[in-house]
Symmetry: C2
Subunit: 342 residues, 2 copies
């Protein structure tokens, strides 16, 4: 059954719409006071791993901000946990992996799990979320790209350069490709199961793809995303978002993905040109610009829609919403899209 508000799926299908749909990456997050109340009570992975909590958080922005799609509250790193890689979340540090992958022996401990069992809480979260949404808007599922997950699995924590992860790939490419394939196989099974549980689309986040040169991207990131798109595209629409990956938009546009995410350093004009002009694009408001005064936000959003065109376009930020954004500004962003007139 189609959601009552079907704009997002229409845009993904390339259908003409009166106005583009809008949602925001990390819209169920730390800028919402009600989220912060739950954050004070439950630690990070408790929030991810308790279906009722994940569902409550997912639906929060739908009630409070009004975007045209929900995205399941979770984290890209739950896939690594399911693969027998320990992941913790440390205050002031972020993700922390006590035993990063450095050798063949480490890699042998990494499994391709039965996702139904290992990630059952995610699928349970989808079931409850769909109930709570009462078919108002579509629900998006997501996963990190294999390269982006390798970054954490090898580096062991966040990094500006992920130089250890890159060194691993450059020094031991065979091991790197083996790890990437295991992540890919797990991710395909994971996203297929999400689709089966009823999410309406999936997005692949290649958050660290833009740290690679175009050659290294074609070696260590893109082929694995392409495998995922190939495995999923007949079953569900796939959105590929590679932050900083303007240089790969041509390959992405020919991949079978339904839409491509664009960051704010790539103008609408460049994005349409580089992606060939026929694929739905999603983005690309600078998340920091949500700190600008509301009238500026409204004006910017209308300018952005005119630049991308209202069709084959999904309004979004160019990366996740920042924790210090006033709720009124996030709401103004969504409202500006709803008020858009050609």
């Amino acid at each position: 059954m189609q959601p009552k508000n079907n704009l997002f799926l229409q845009a993904l299908a390339g259908q003409s719409v009166n106005r583009p749909p809008v949602w925001m990456m990390r819209q169920a997050g730390r800028y919402l006071p009600d989220f912060m109340k739950l954050k004070a009570k439950y630690d990070f992975f408790t929030r991810c791993q308790t279906p009722e909590l994940a569902a409550e958080i997912t639906v929060m922005p739908i009630d409070q901000i009004g975007p045209d799609a929900a995205i399941l509250f979770s984290d890209i790193l739950v896939v690594l946990q399911a693969m027998n890689i320990q992941v913790e979340m440390k205050d002031g540090i972020g993700p922390w992996l006590p035993k990063p992958i450095q050798s063949q022996a480490d890699l042998q401990q990494v499994i391709v799990p039965e996702v139904e069992e290992a990630l059952d809480y995610v699928f349970g979260g989808i079931d409850i979320t769909l109930e709570k949404l009462e078919n108002r808007v579509p629900l998006i599922g997501f996963a990190g790209s294999p390269w982006t997950l390798l970054c954490y699995a090898v580096q062991g924590q966040g990094s500006k350069t992920f130089d250890k992860a890159k060194a691993f790939c450059f020094e031991q490419p065979t091991l790197a490709h083996e790890l990437l394939q295991k992540i890919t196989d797990t991710t395909i099974a994971y996203l297929k199961k999400k689709a089966k549980h009823g999410v309406h689309a999936v997005q692949i986040f290649d958050s660290w793809g833009g740290l690679l040169s175009p050659d290294d991207y074609q070696n260590f990131s893109w082929p694995y995303i392409q495998q995922i798109v190939n495995a999923l595209k007949e079953q569900i629409s796939v959105i590929v978002f590679g932050k900083g990956c303007w240089f790969a938009l041509r390959e992405m546009s020919q991949s079978g993905a339904a839409a491509l995410g664009i960051d704010w350093t790539c103008s609408a004009e460049n994005a349409r040109y580089l992606s060939g002009g026929n694929i739905t694009l999603q983005g690309n408001y600078d998340p920091s610009r949500l700190l600008a005064p509301i009238p500026t936000i409204t004006q910017d959003v209308h300018k952005m829609i005119r630049a991308f065109g209202k069709d084959r376009y999904i309004v979004n930020l160019g990366h996740g919403i920042l924790p210090n954004i006033p709720v009124s500004h996030a709401k103004a962003f969504v409202e500006a899209v709803k008020n858009y007139k050609e």
Copy 2:
């Protein structure tokens, strides 16, 4: 008098060469054991502000690694200090500004100094460095771009997003432009004086330009770099390096700059296309790839020279060398260029 090894200046002038020149951003830095010995004895700003030390550090890689140009050891933040903005360097944090610029009142404390006096230690460092170099290779002077310096002046420390700095620009654009102009005026006087003291070229580092959208870049960064290029270009060759600023290469190529720095996410082919094909380009090896085995580095460098072409090209990294690079790998990078045969 021309330096004995004049390859770098020939490439800047667009002259044909047998092989391209090579140097590395941050080549006088933390990957060198002798630098680490000085680091253990003298704090950061002592190293910058003691002409003998700055000169010793500047010449270190010339003796130990053999690049075709030296770059004066200093820091972009000394310009803010000269403008009456307090800058400290904190262990584990990096740059730390106790009183970031947030208001008109803060801005009124910011001066455009007499650089000869306020930054005399830099000019003293140039004099001693030129003596130590004995005319072996050219000496490069540098400055941060006004936008990049504003980032620190307003944010008060390093940041992944520099969201406070951006919010300042979006909320108080008049103040932002006033600060940018003060930095620009100081930088022009500073670089002119460097040229007078005998540096052979200057590079402007727009390290955080790539955090801006193309529109914001044209508003808050590019016009000030253009002012600097206009003021300097008759006197000395100017290299502009905007990390992540592939989207502005067209404007940069028409600015009067002698060369443009390219990061590793922009392929040689894209860089030549976007910059119009006639300007000298500098870059763009991924600094993390210096962790690859030496034969890989050698092969990569030769491939990179073939991709950019040997003329109108200066071999460099796409950003500063990382502290964890083995000296032998840095040396292999330089050697690979010297051994290049068409």
